[in-house]
Symmetry: C2
Subunit: 380 residues, 2 copies
């Protein structure tokens, strides 16, 4: 029987392979099914969040046979987890188009490489130095001054693998906690606020940018995003210029986020994520086209959609526990996003979005949601 | 091991059984997964549209063992197909809560019962008479006059099983086509336009109503919906009063649609659908809460969400073929909805929605989409 090449919207659904099957994969699938796409996820977790919405290959990242089975028959592949081993990504890319490509993963997996790349592209970053042993930590602190932030170069996320050094007395305990691995010391930026941008580049090079959003963290984990961020003025254009250079340099296809510190009227990049991003979840209800739909449009070779905000949003992460959905949904304009993950302390298990016509109304209703989230029901 | 009752948003996902696995089931699942719901569909079709998003029991409607297997372990059930045999629905309802209940199905499955119910509730309908044989057809035509519409009482949809009688010469061919089954003759309403409303009733009796929308048909099949309908004035309140009475009478839980003819400044009900409805698809992008999310909120005992329109929408059904998604998505504000069904003449295989800030802009962009749809690419 002759095979017909799959195309979006055609009778033969395009099968997208996703490296990683967490909530980002789940939300990609929710956005992709209406486009006529179907999904296969590679994730070692047996109860991966995205598994409800497609095939699931539950093998280790370095299981060559499992990875080959994952890649077999895909039309194209993408990733939703930036710590996919490069060898795994390369094995997939050898069989099917991987978008974005391995260059984006490679640029991101080591914080030192990441900072060097950003600086080389003219995107401001805090001063930084590599730290490989105790002596180089002392030299780096002498050169950059305190306060500073010591971070592992690999596998850090959600504030893990970081230590803030305020005084010389903080060095020894920080070294005890983090030493022995490749590290980076970064000058602490006394920022006013954290802003982030999601940018999307199409297969034909077209670029779109979502409005800057304002992020608030708790315990190193994103807790709340206000979208669009108020009073950004010229920072929107600055963010787009920075993101655009990074997209082009990486010959990027898909969605990418950059987190910035707003400092002294300008943006200082903290890090980028070569994937859809937690600070873009508001776009599901709050933008004409969600970051998930636009990522899929990009990798499938379709035109990108408008990133314009529709009203004002606040997004709240649900960390460790989920509130009663009946209480959440009684709040005007509130939407519940359940990740299908068991509740555990510190784990992102869902998010809430509230949409309103004005920023004040969104903030008011977000306060009602925060009250539910900060005083959670007893753990189930 | 102790079992924990499932609740929306809890760690034990609530499993919803859906009788029918077409595109309505598919869109219910897309709205329900973020609420922490999971789905099982009963549909005889092996390639049911919704099967990609949940378990699929592919048995005949009258397969008692299959229906029992479908019902086993559900937390609750609903239907997305109004011609589910009553015995099947009753068998499910005997095991798990069925929302809406069998009363709504029973009231709908025979057009004569449906019209009698609407009239009894004070909801205006065109004059009608039962037609059981050739002689009663002649008597009905004499009583109601021409033009009139002869319809089968059961299993009609999308204009099938209907004949418009303009002159006495139309009776014989209509009888040849439709006779031998229970029929109904309805006086033809010289309507200005068709409007429909989707109403939702919560488990606690709360009611919400979407804005009236304006429907345009082609060949008896809904082709295009404009939402909200322009210039409805007092008709919105009239529609809500009618729908509200029907909801209460049926002790209804979930979404229900009523199609009306606008005639002489008032609404005349044509039919109702005890389910989410094609004329409500615009609400996915065009309303604060979609009809699918609100149906699920209702049956799961959650508070209903706002039905307010977000801007202006046009929804176009894709009938028989799908246009190139790249061309569709190049139109500003356009969204593609693929039903995962093979293209076949006369079959609803997807829909497009275009959203804009003004009715004029939505209409303009809908014209661009119509041009793609009316001049389809060669059949794949």
């Amino acid at each position: 029987m002759a095979t017909v090449p799959a195309e979006p919207g055609g009778d033969h659904p395009m099968l997208i392979g996703v490296l990683g099957g967490g909530q980002l994969g789940r939300m990609l699938a929710l956005a992709g099914v209406p486009l006529g796409l179907s999904f296969r996820f590679l994730d070692p977790l047996a109860d991966a969040s995205a598994a409800a919405l497609g095939e699931h290959v539950a093998c280790a990242w370095d299981d060559a046979a499992g990875v080959a089975a994952f890649a077999d028959g895909l039309d194209l592949a993408t990733f939703e987890f930036e710590n996919v081993p490069l060898a795994t990504a390369a094995a997939v890319a050898a069989r099917v188009p991987l978008r974005p490509g391995t260059a984006a993963l490679a640029a991101k997996q080591d914080r030192l490489d990441e900072k060097r790349l950003l600086r080389a592209l003219g995107i401001p970053v805090a001063d930084f130095l590599a730290v490989d042993d105790r002596a180089s930590l002392d030299r780096a602190v002498a050169a950059l001054g305190l306060p500073a932030v010591l971070k592992t170069r690999r596998d850090g996320y959600d504030g893990k693998g970081q230590a803030l050094l305020r005084t010389p007395g903080d060095l020894a305990p920080a070294w005890t906690a983090l030493g022995g691995r490749p590290l980076i010391l970064e000058r602490f930026v006394p920022f006013v606020r954290e802003l982030s941008v999601v940018a999307v580049r199409a297969l034909d090079g077209d670029q779109v940018f979502y409005p800057l959003v304002e992020n608030h963290h708790r315990g190193g984990i994103l807790r709340r995003t206000v979208a669009p961020a108020p009073d950004v003025g010229a920072l929107q254009a600055e963010a787009q210029a920075h993101a655009g250079r990074l997209l082009v340099h990486l010959d990027y296809v898909g969605a990418l986020a950059i987190e910035f510190f707003a400092h002294d009227g300008h943006l200082i990049a903290n890090e980028f994520a070569p994937r859809v991003h937690n600070s873009g979840h508001w776009s599901i209800e709050g933008a004409t086209t969600s970051q998930f739909a636009n990522h899929l449009r990009a990798i499938a070779g379709l035109p990108l959609g408008s990133t314009a905000a529709r009203g004002h949003c606040v997004m709240l992460n649900l960390i460790g526990d989920r509130p009663d959905p009946a209480a959440v949904l009684a709040v005007p304009g509130a939407h519940f996003h359940h990740y299908g993950k068991a509740a555990r302390p510190g784990r992102k298990v869902g998010h809430l979005t509230v949409v309103a016509d004005s920023a004040a109304e969104a903030a008011h209703n977000a306060q009602r949601l925060l009250a539910l989230v900060d005083d959670p029901a007893p753990a189930r």
